[in-house]
């Protein structure tokens, strides 16, 4: 039988304790155990970026991290990005308004990656943005709307301070 451990992870601001198989990765833990299905799994080997979440504020591919490794850490998934009252994060708002998505499958990972990037780089150039999101694959858009959304979100976040 698979080895199990008890872990406590703060997910989107709430501490959650669960018993997980040690082989369970963070993406499956979020999706299957916690039903946080906004974290999407596209490639299972850390290339497409659809499963990106924040772990202690840093963007991480949840398919490459075991759930047990998140024990004692803070995880933010796309469901936890908006404010408690439902107000969208400026990055979410900008993706929606700038048509930064077609099918929307890569979107949660893109949104998380951009949010993490802008926190550290509040005043990026277009080239900076293109480089920053090159760890996330979008097959639909050719990335134009995504780049526009990231630049607009940066502007909004600068104004909001």
């Amino acid at each position: 039988m698979a080895d199990k451990r008890e872990i406590t992870v703060t997910i989107n601001g709430q501490a959650q304790t669960a018993e997980v198989e040690t082989r369970t990765n963070l993406a499956d833990f979020l999706r299957h155990e916690l039903e946080l299905t906004g974290t999407h799994v596209g490639c299972e080997h850390g290339v497409c970026g659809a499963c990106t979440v924040l772990v202690d504020g840093a963007a991480v591919r949840s398919c490459l991290m075991l759930a047990v490794q998140a024990d004692g850490h803070e995880v933010t998934s796309v469901e936890g990005l908006a404010a408690a009252d439902g107000t969208l994060h400026p990055v979410q708002e900008a993706f929606w308004k700038n048509h930064g998505l077609q099918c929307g499958f890569c979107t949660p990972g893109m949104v998380i990656s951009v949010a993490a990037f802008l926190k550290d780089n509040p005043n990026p150039t277009e080239a900076d943005v293109r480089s920053a999101i090159s760890g996330n694959i979008c097959r639909c858009t050719g990335y134009q709307g995504i780049v526009a959304a990231a630049l607009e979100a940066a502007e909004t976040m600068r104004q909001e301070g």
């Binding site: 698979a2 082989r23 999706r31 039903e35 946080l36 299905t37 906004g38 974290t39 999407h40 799994v41 596209g42 490639c43 299972e44 080997h45 290339v47 497409c48 659809a50 998934s77 796309v78 469901e79 990005l81 908006a82 969208l88 979410q92 708002e93 993706f95 929606w96 308004k97 048509h99 998505l101 077609q102 099918c103 929307g104 499958f105 890569c106 979107t107 949660p108 949104v111 943005v129 293109r130 480089s131 999101i133 090159s134 760890g135 996330n136 694959i137 979008c138 097959r139 639909c140 858009t141 050719g142 990335y143 134009q144 709307g145 995504i146 780049v147």
Partner: protein, 749 residues
Amino acid sequence: MNEMSNKWIGQSTIRPDGAEKVTGRAEFAADTNMPGMIWGSVLRSPHAHARIVSIDTSKAEAHPGVKAVVTAQDIVDFPVDTPVPLGIQDMRWMCRNIMAREKVLFHGHPLAAVAATSEAIAAEACKLIEMEYEVLPWVIEIEDAIKPDAPILHEYLEHDGKPSNITGTLEHKLGDVEEGFAQADVIIERSFTTRPVHQGYIEPHACLVSVAADGKTTIWSSSQGQFMVRAMTAMLTDMPQSDIRAIPAEIGGGFGGKTIVYLEPVATMLSKKSGRPVKMVMSREDVMRASGPTSGSMSTVKIGATKDGQIVAAEGTFYLQAGALPGSPIRGAAGCGFAPYNIPNVHSVGIDVVSNRSKVAAYRAPGAPIGAFAVESVLDEVAEALNIDPLELRLRHAAREGTKAAHGPTYPLIGFVETIEAAIEHPHYKAPLGKHQGRGVASGFWFNAGGESSAQVNITEDGNVVVTTGHPDIGGSRAAIANVAAELLGIDYRRVSVLIGDTATVGYSNLTGGSRVLFASAMAVTDSAGQVITTLCERAAKIWDIDPDAVTWEDGEARPAGDNAGQFEPLSLADIAAQATQTGGPIGHGAQLNTTGAQGGFATHICDVEVDMDLGIVKVLRYTSFQDVGRAVHPAYVEGQMQGGVAQGIGWALNEEYIFDKDGHVDNPGFLDYRMPVCSDLPMLDAVMIEVPNPAHPQGVRGVGEVPLVPALAAIANAVHNALGLRFSSLPMSPPKVLAALEMPEAAE
């Protein structure tokens, strides 16, 4: 429709499904769960080609946690001697594709499936299935598959009177090519190859199926057509369609690859046997190995012209890999390649070749980019030989209203000439180029499709609007349909809610494919909304006690048609809805149409590249596409189609390819080794929309989704030729191949 009066058509309105998608709430196929749900896993062939001697599932069935096992015995067998067409598919092949019968035909071919209480147990149990094979020689590449001594995949399929891997041909003829070439002063003939490439949707195939005790079945899945899922599942599991409710999940990309089923009939049988809801999700590796990449190809194109610059004859032969079972997109390659041009003598042949790789599925303008790559590369050489600007050569021969195409039609009003003229005038075409940089152009055509679509337009009790259509929304079609409905009803688009119905709640609608969704569904919505407006006017007439003919619908209100009709305050949608019960009941109408008048799409592309002479990397510096988009109902999503298609073309031309190892296995079945373009690989992709409204459509819509990919391969290859003086006739132009060609120019071929 008078364009000037349009309020919503032509606006890039905010998409109705956006909030759910940026917050992660949208439900894709793998996101749905049910109480008691178990997991299905597929046992796949370890061989590229083998006869199945025996299959023993007893150990898997006895494994703790296993609830059901399914093999080909549980799937309906359509005998190979009688075609069973369903759309462009043949169920003879489909039943063998979803579960191997008699033989395994490619590495990854499904052999059996297990449902168990966890994904891990199901996968473990698959390994307990005992298989005995007679391993056979295999063949993957076209040139090997058509050799006389090649291993034969299907002994019962014959060509020229003997068993063959050539399983179909198609021919288009116009005029007499021999006479044409006799008049030519310049004749260029070249051969080309392209590799299989995958559609690359980020969402793997997934489904959840629940079969109730009475056989009533619910399927949640990601597909390009819930009605296709219903029909194929019904046929493959011998169930009436009325017992199946196929619910379209949000779809995480398809590009043609989700126009057939892989998992749904298997999950249905697992659910039927286990009595439990069954979920199945493909791994990325399964997607790459066993779903349909498009064809690899081998083509020869010959074009002849007089020295004063008239093209007098053109000939093409296009061999396309079908994969394990017949049915490659030869129609797209042989039909679209020469379609943009007015050439008096054309002979174009497509040849379907089966081989031991997974069966092809459609990929954005299936076959057309392959045809265009060859034709547009040769045209470039013809222009060079004649010393004519390549766009000027295309302009001189551009198809226009009245041109007879080799694949059949005489064109109605089309905007191809406009795309070339716009390209010639665009600053991009005149911009200076630096060292190791080059510019290429190419044009392309795609048929576009009409066909069956249904829509229902209902007025809510508070006077708002719900529109239900039957096509999965893959690129923003709900937003465009909201624009159309808002325009017709004269209300704000935010008062229109657009939903995709399931097979039980909306009338039959054909696939999301063929660039047909907005074309066809806008027609069904226009018909339905027209009936709704007639009813609204009747209700107003009743309230005012005047003749319905004396009422008109303007700006979202019923108004007396003129002074003779009487003096009444206008009645809004909300006013009429509030009195609906008293005036005749609920207000809503539907339409179920078989739409016609979808006219072809044309595009012209300009591409600039720079070649890194040390590393062999081709970098696209600037890209501008010009397309006749008919009427851009939602411009942002039309641009999105144009940019997305070009991005896929850049991947196909420069990096993407299936690599097979010495055992006939796909050697790069993941995104690490199958390299699709990321943002830093691409420049800003400029999209120039040219609107020549389709006169056969109420809003002027022409399909826009597929043609953006068609010219891209050739535009890039022509740019590389312009930069290096080397013509790559073999894709992809990946760094190792470019480096080899820089050292030894023959390597480009």
